[in-house]
Symmetry: C2
Subunit: 365 residues, 2 copies
């Protein structure tokens, strides 16, 4: 069985040759004499590498490269950590530009260490000892993970502690990194209007289709469990879905199924004329038994959007079920009404287009 | 069986009553007459809610609340989307402050839509139609998810498309949201020195303990697969671990196992005096068969840190294996050498402490 390396539970590694055999780490041997001014290399304490050839060639040719390292800001800086300090110091003299990351987001997520405590440890224990060990601040970039984050994304990352993995699986089925990041980002989208600087704790209503309820439930659960922030769980209202014009789903990927608000009114009108109605098989049957408005896309269009007057809508409904309204004429009325609406809407859209650009180009960070 | 709602694959929902029974969504009925100036509520198209009582009480008492909604910037804005526009418009007249999020990070992660394309769709289709539908820009905050992100975290989020879930499982074992976020953040930590504004594509060396190789492998794989950015996969060198002073692991959680660089030199010296050596059971046996420096924590301290002169170290080694060096005296020499080192180091640390604070307080965003 392969040896398993777990970077979050410092492993007792007994046999370094095995790592070389099992994981493709390359032996460092040939550099023992080439970089013999560094005892950790000369003595084989640095025993393996990946792609060090490239770095070595940059060192010998004097080309620019970077040494990047991270520190987990917890506990005291001890002799075990000193090896990294010695490595930084050595490669700094060999032309490396140094990047040191204090992993405070990680120490919060993996160990629950508050950001302020991590910051103190990083300065008092790590950075102080690095500098005292002779690392120069000349070519040094030192930062906290949280330094590059905005309150919005800090919230998103902090929220990652709240949902359990099983909960996410129950909600989203087969998981992926994309789904996890997206769902946490949505939670932050919904909760961030309650951030102290952005309005503070207050009720938030999310109107959405019923299919979005899983996100809402997750966000409500997260909000209730969150301890670093104080949130009111978001409220929601759910609306039904319109059927597609051809009877199936209304879907952006099938232009025949929808009417876009900015499409040519004449084209839209034609879509209505060939929409699936609740009409009977024959004219005679329709006159006798009446139509089925509840199964009719055209009626749904009136119900949801086009006929805002209830009396008028009720008249249409009753005429239909009583067989007094036939589909051809009804579709034509609907198409006319839609054309009128679209023309009016598109006139307005033309006027606000510039404003939309302006609103969207506002800088946030 | 419970109906399953999948928010990323718009479901065909046939029976809205089932949602109320199965998921605890509450019926909207009692508001049909209370908010009869909105046809989507009056006509039962908005059929269910969570916590709407709270929002309703804020509406009736004139207290402040927020309406938050998100849009997925893909495809055309059609009559199906118009319901949300109508909801925004209605609640805006009922005192809601409006927050509209264009989910461009999500549309990149879930559908691979480039951020620039998402931005264009959001303005041309969504925002334009919102405004043309009568939504006022007065109480409206509109933003892209990417507006609040810095290049560092944008990189982190973009990288989320690269690892497969099975790969993460193989590397980290049992997964959690915390591990996923932390590992992607580490990848961004390591790769961000190659961002265009931060130095561009160049070799990066990561010196670390062998246990960190899984992170390195993941980051190298991600770097190779990444298409939005151009990275050189990071190089790495791996060092061995020092044993703890008491023979087990050197661990921050067990002060007897380590020497901290800022601890009292006298206390540290005492730890050496009681450290586990490679000495034999008796003085006689040691003189006869020699000690075992390769199993000796004290020798390791000299090898890794205290005796930088190879000749001197070699002398210690040979005296030990030849039985000419006994543990008591050897430990005392090591302890003295450690004390001397610690005192000198701590003098330097006192001088650079202020500088450390200064470096760490640099603003990044």
């Amino acid at each position: 069985m392969k040896e398993k390396l777990n970077p979050w539970e410092s492993t007792d590694i007994s046999d370094y040759d095995k790592l070389i055999q099992n994981f493709g780490i390359k032996p460092m041997q040939k550099y023992c004499s080439k970089l013999d001014d560094f005892h950790l290399i000369r003595r084989g304490i640095i025993f393996g590498h990946r792609d060090f050839e490239k770095i070595f060639s940059h060192i010998t040719s004097g080309k620019k490269y970077v040494l990047m390292t991270g520190l987990m800001p917890s506990g005291r800086f001890h002799l075990g950590h000193k090896m990294v300090a010695d490595e930084i110091k050595y490669f700094q003299t060999k032309g490396a530009k140094i990047f040191v990351c204090a992993a405070d987001i990680e120490s919060y997520l993996m160990r629950g260490i508050p950001l302020a405590e991590a910051r103190q440890t990083a300065v008092e224990e790590y950075l102080t000892n690095y500098l005292a060990s002779g690392i120069s601040m000349e070519n040094l970039t030192f930062w906290f993970q949280s330094d590059y984050i905005t309150p919005y994304y800090l919230l998103r990352d902090m929220l990652a502690r709240r949902p359990t993995f099983n909960e996410l699986k129950a909600i989203y089925g087969q998981l992926s990194t994309e789904k996890i990041i997206s769902s946490l980002t949505q939670a932050a989208d919904i909760l961030h209007p309650q951030l102290p600087g952005l309005g503070g704790k207050r009720p938030v209503l999310v109107p959405c289709g019923a299919d979005q309820d899983p996100h809402i439930r997750l966000t409500r659960d997260i909000a209730k469990r969150e301890t670093e922030y104080d949130f009111t769980p978001p409220a929601a209202v759910y609306h039904k879905f319109m059927k597609g014009l051809t009877g199936g789903k209304m879907s952006s990927s099938d232009p025949k199924s929808y009417v876009a608000l900015l499409e040519e009114p004449e084209v839209a009108a034609k879509k209505i004329m060939s929409a699936k109605t609740g009409g009977r098989e024959s004219l005679d049957l329709q006159k006798k038994e009446g139509g089925k408005p509840n199964e009719c896309v055209v009626y749904e269009l009136c119900l949801y959007h086009l006929t805002l007057d209830d009396l008028e809508l009720s008249r249409v409904y009753h005429e239909c079920v009583e067989g007094k309204r036939l589909c051809g004429e009804c579709k034509k009325q609907c198409a006319d009404s839609l054309k009128k609406y679209l023309k009016q809407h598109q006139r307005k859209a033309g006027k606000v287009r510039g404003l939309a650009e302006e609103i969207a180009s506002k800088k946030r960070c």
